[in-house]
């Protein structure tokens, strides 16, 4: 059985934060094409605030809780509640667990995605971060069904997230600021789809780096 230790998992959240910080300008640039060009600013602000509060002895659940709370309560806008509920759900599902296995991860991600959908009311096809997060977990699931390998499923999840991100290019935005452009929103990626792809990638690779098996 493959798993990672919750108490070793702060690095996962740390790497998520680093990925966002490193891509701050790129995210704003993507948002600039059809949004208002502040996605990198918004994301960087919230994730960096959380970074200062995460300590070395924190578990994955602790770190996810801190990030989730900062986003949810202190950032505002839409990104705060959306990504906030995403990470807070991850905390809630895992808070009492020592080991996090593939089925637990799958359940956690599905519930986290459900909470984002519940919060933002966006569906697949609306050209939002849902278009990355939804295929990411679908890919994970189908890989697990096929090969039952946590690591393989995580890699598949990254691939599916990227496909999902790229699929937003041909979509008409129906939610958020870009919706103002209608048909003119076709041809460029959605900024939230890009940031959530970075998040899926950072989570998956970090888990692989601390994966154990019995």
């Amino acid at each position: 059985m493959q798993y990672f230790l919750n108490k070793e998992g702060a690095v996962i959240i740390r790497n998520v934060i680093k990925a966002i910080q490193a891509n701050k300008d790129y995210l704003s640039e993507v948002d600039g094409a059809i949004g208002d060009g502040d996605h990198g600013i918004n994301m960087n602000k919230g994730f960096s605030m959380a970074a200062e509060r995460i300590e070395d002895n924190h578990s994955f659940s602790d770190a996810a809780k801190i990030l989730g709370n900062v986003l949810m309560m202190e950032i505002g806008g839409s990104m705060g509640p959306l990504y906030g509920s995403f990470f807070k759900t991850m905390f809630k599902v895992t808070k009492d667990l020592e080991q996090i296995t593939a089925p637990i991860y799958q359940n956690m991600f599905e519930l986290a995605l459900a909470s984002v959908k519940d919060m933002g009311k966006a569906e697949v096809g609306d050209k939002t971060l849902i278009d990355t997060l939804s295929p990411a977990i679908e890919g994970f699931k189908s890989s697990m069904a096929e090969s039952s390998d946590f690591k393989v499923a995580l890699i598949k999840s990254i691939e599916s997230a990227k496909e999902g991100r790229d699929s937003t290019k041909d979509m008409i935005a129906r939610i958020g600021r870009a919706a103002r452009l209608g048909e003119r929103s076709i041809g460029v990626l959605d900024a939230g789809a890009v940031s959530s792809c970075l998040i899926v990638e950072a989570i998956s690779l970090s888990i692989i780096s601390i994966l154990k098996s019995t």
Binding site: G32, G35, D36, G37, D38, I41, N42, M72, M73, E74, I75, G76, G77, S78, G80, P81, L82, M119, G120, K121, I175, G176, R177, A179, R180, L181, G182
Partner: protein, 332 residues
């Protein structure tokens, strides 16, 4: 970008600071720098009124804090919903033990953040009920009111809700009055030029000179259609053609008229527009109970206006006419 700012990231904090300094007779600060309150809030024995939203709509939202209107307000970044914590802190500031009515506009960020603030208030034993303004007829068909955005009509909702609370209404009565206010209110915007978020530095949409966008939203959300720029009179006709059938407003109805500039349109032009609105309403035998014309709810430096009509019965008239003392709206 010809703007009067320091670091654009500090704009909201500095604006709030400058606002507090200018109006100590009405406004008090709170421990949360993104929450301002009426200096006498919580007002003993009164239901609290809270609102909030993204910045860039000055005098909304903070200009409507004061006696008999809004007790506390949550302030967001430019065009971005305040945090859940700010909404919650505003609720705390407004609560005098009789519950708090959160009266806000229908935007996804605000919906999410208010929902979380309400959960927090529930957990802390503060009774909160909400009304969400959806007066913008251009943002969705009449059959989908839950999709419609809140725009300048929010001011009339705060006015009515605030007056009802001041007159001693309990939470349910205040909520019912505010809901009645917004249910009887319809707005539509006309955009003639875009706006620029200072941190971004350039307009993130365009309106071609010689054209105008009918039904534009308060952040530049797309309208119903882009048409050739019309005369003021024709604009009045077109906007009323959208508003009147929607409620509908009918012969012998009495209405409150609210015409707000979007930021860069000279107020003299709002009066030219008001002249024709008045003429058309009068010709349709719709009575004008009261008119507000000015920059009441803006969108940074956007060019254009919003027209809002509220159908008023004797209860709403009394609440609209009730005295108030805020920075942006004063009535004796």
């Amino acid at each position: 970008m010809q703007r009067i700012v320091n670091n654009p990231d500090d704009l909201v904090n500095e604006m709030v600071e400058g606002f507090k300094l200018a109006h100590p007779d009405i406004i008090a600060s709170t421990p949360n720098p993104r929450v301002l309150k009426y200096k006498n809030a919580p007002v003993a024995g009164k239901v609290g009124i809270v609102t909030g939203g993204g910045s860039g709509h000055k005098p909304a939202f903070i200009g409507y804090v004061g006696e008999n209107m809004v007790d506390a307000v949550a302030v967001g970044e430019i065009f971005s919903s305040p945090t859940a914590i700010s909404f919650y802190n505003a609720i705390e500031c407004a609560d005098a033990g009789k519950g708090v009515a959160v009266l806000y506009g229908n935007y996804s960020g605000d919906n999410m953040n208010v929902r979380m603030a309400k959960e927090e208030a529930d957990d802390n034993g503060i009774l909160v009920k909400t009304v969400v303004a959806n007066d913008d007829v251009a943002s969705a068909p009449a059959s989908e009111p839950q999709k419609r955005r809140g725009v300048a009509g929010e001011i009339l909702m705060w006015k009515v809700g605030g007056a009802k609370a001041a007159m001693g209404g309990d939470l349910d009565e205040v909520i019912a009055a505010a809901q009645k206010a917004i249910d009887n209110t319809r707005s539509v915007g006309v955009g003639l030029g875009p706006c620029t978020i200072p941190a971004v530095g350039k307009p993130n949409f365009q309106i071609q000179p010689g054209t105008m966008e009918l039904g534009i939203g308060h952040h530049g959300e797309p309208g119903i259609k882009v048409v050739d720029l019309k005369t003021a009179d024709k604009m009045a006709e077109m906007t009323l053609d959208l508003l009147l059938p929607d409620l509908p407003f009918k012969e012998m109805d009495d209405v409150v008229v609210l015409i707000s500039g979007l930021g860069s349109t000279p107020v003299s032009e709002l009066y030219v527009f008001n002249r024709k609105v008045n003429e058309i309403l009068t010709s349709k035998k719709i009575g004008i109970h009261r008119s507000y014309v000015g920059n009441y709810f803006t969108s940074l430096d956007m060019v254009g206006l919003t027209l809002t009509l509220m159908k008023v019965d004797s209860e709403l008239k009394e609440l609209i006419d009730y005295k108030t003392n805020t920075v942006a709206l004063k009535q004796f």
